[in-house]
Amino acid sequence: MSTKDSQGQLWEVFIQANPGIPHKHAGSVHATDKEMALQNARDLYTRRSEGTSIWVVLSAAIVASAPEDSGMLFDPSNDKPYRHPTFYVMPEGAKNI
């Protein structure tokens, strides 16, 4: 963001649609302070009763993985099927397991 940008800072908005479920990224808003960010997020992303809770966080505060690291980060878990219950063979007839 250029310093002459007078549109405020960019904030990412996370909305919880119903109690008990995770907050999900909804989009972003501009605001100069956190109160404004929260209000703008409310007015922009919950006009149709989409939310029960809102988080806003400065976009600049988010640390994201780089696409070129995705091999290093995520591929090594591909050969570890023993982390999933379907990996295991259960004796026929065993119940509740």
């Binding site: 250029s2 405020g8 989009g27 972003s28 302070d33 696409p67």
Partner: protein, 313 residues
Amino acid sequence: MESTNNLEKFQTIIDADTKIEPKDWMPEDYRKHLIRQISQHAHSEVIGMQPEGNWITRAPSLRAKLILLAKIQDEAGHGLYLYSACETLGISREELIDQLHTGKAKYSSIFNYPAVTWADIGAIGWLVDGAAIVNQISLQRTSYGPYSRAMIRICKEESFHQRQGYEIMGKLALGTPEQKEMAQDALNRWWWPSLMMFGPHDSDSPHSGKAMTWRIKRESNDVLRQRFIDKTVQQAEVIGLKIPDDKLKWNEAKGVYEHGEINWEEFNQVINGNGPLNKIRLANHISAHENGAWVREAANAYAAKQKKEVLVA
């Protein structure tokens, strides 16, 4: 340098219909094309608030006023979704607004036409939003992730826009003779500009080639325009209004409506700044922006003071 390796990988992602995300490598032309298209789309939503906003204070019932306000508010919201999507490409909203003000960025020419009567609010919802939705539904499958997500959200919210416009037209068409005349007049004025919204014929469309290869655009101008015509003709019949095109004719063999030729001279004139309201729409936007400068400065200054206080404490 754009290595062939990167380019191949990029095209593979596109061809597999997987989305490109902001941090992924992309050709510079892809980025430029997206910035141009998404910002034009965002500006259109925002400038599009003006013709309808012209009638907020004159809406003929409390219900109509509430609906119109909510609709215009959605358009502001959609402008914001799209500005955000555009910002993921490394351009600030300030720059985008600046491009609008200097004329470097365009917005849809349709909004340079005046909303003269209340029936125009019906026609804008029914025809202009109707045409926009045909395009936007297609764009939900666009290859750039943030743009696609914005489109999905926009389509979901816009589904009521066309209906409210059609409802207004229907009420007028079934109302007093004066009301019906008002409705037909609005249809007469908005029909052709709505068809122009889809842009030049495919054979004359300068940006289409790469946009299709990169799957930014998923269907051609003419295909989308035809889809809009085919669904709208029947809707006009239901409320007893006549589409102002003498050449309009059902082609049984092709299963589409044939239509008359669009006045491309008018299209080019409006695009080049000579539409009825080009200068006024832009001047309004610039003046709102300038009138708000002291407010934005104050908010930034206030935020800076708050930060300092936190540091001191």
